[in-house]
Symmetry: C2
Amino acid sequence: MAEPSGTARDPEAVSRFVEHFAAQLVEAGLPRMPARVFGALLASDTGVLTSAELGERLRISPAAVSGAVRYLAQQHMVSREREPGSRRERYRVHGDQWYEALTNREAVIRRWEDALREGVTSLGADSPAGRRLAETLAFFEFMEKEFRALMARWRAEREERFGRR
Amino acid sequence: MAEPSGTARDPEAVSRFVEHFAAQLVEAGLPRMPARVFGALLASDTGVLTSAELGERLRISPAAVSGAVRYLAQQHMVSREREPGSRRERYRVHGDQWYEALTNREAVIRRWEDALREGVTSLGADSPAGRRLAETLAFFEFMEKEFRALMARWRAEREERFGRR
DNA sequence: CGCTTGGTTCACAAATTTGTGAAGTTAAGG
DNA sequence: CCTTAACTTCACAAATTTGTGAACCAAGCG
């Protein structure tokens, strides 16, 4: 009932991919369960799964699902949708949304910048250390600016190659 | 003896910056000790400190220093230098090196791409899930390519603003 | 050659994180 | 209203990670 029966795929193969991909995400710093849940969503045909489906596919408790999706939603890697007229909650990976979230660490970078600015003033802009911090700060500011342009270019290329969503 | 006495700074203020900045890095996924060590190096005037100096400033054991610098060196965030004719080991943050390492997750991305490619074949390039994975893969390939150009632009801007190293 | 200083490795205790079962909460459906 | 389905929250046990002291190693120096 989970997938439109159009494409019957080997669940073994799907699971192998999910676990392998999740392992890479874990290595990159994502907690284990969120990584697996994210992998399962990515590998689902519709890109939407309910909590129950996630728990079943990954063989984890409802509590684990709950924790994982809360984390992912906070990171903007999935969106939750309350299907009206039903108690089922559904989670979705948007084609765009998710990788923006992964790379877009905007908020994180912003806090680094704040800390660096604080450092420059408190160590003195004229001290050698102050200069090093200032340069680092300039780098992040540069990246922040350039990144917007880069994402815009991607959207253009994407639309051209995959069509609009 | 640690710093050239030219700029006498408030060690309190330095420590505050180090801890605050380290906290941000930790939040971004870096382990605690490496983050603190990195902060201490960033905030030092020369950008070079010995193990002993690091241990003293951060109030941590030699073992902790050893572990932290091993980690940082592996991530290419610091380089270790064996000062010839002395047993002292010195650790350095290069102006460039370090932020390239932080952003440049090249190896990580490469492994994501591999996992995604595997997924596309095993789920079928024509299935909806396969198409989603393919699009994700295309995104990372795009980023990888663009990122090189972006770094080149940064080096140019940097040289202009801060002079060559 | 030994002594001594600077670092590394190892085993372990402490702290943190993870995932679970069980109890609690909310709202649909009779 | 009362029942029940679908989560969520909580307390706790298990596993993992962290940082330390202690033993160990390597290289200058006398």
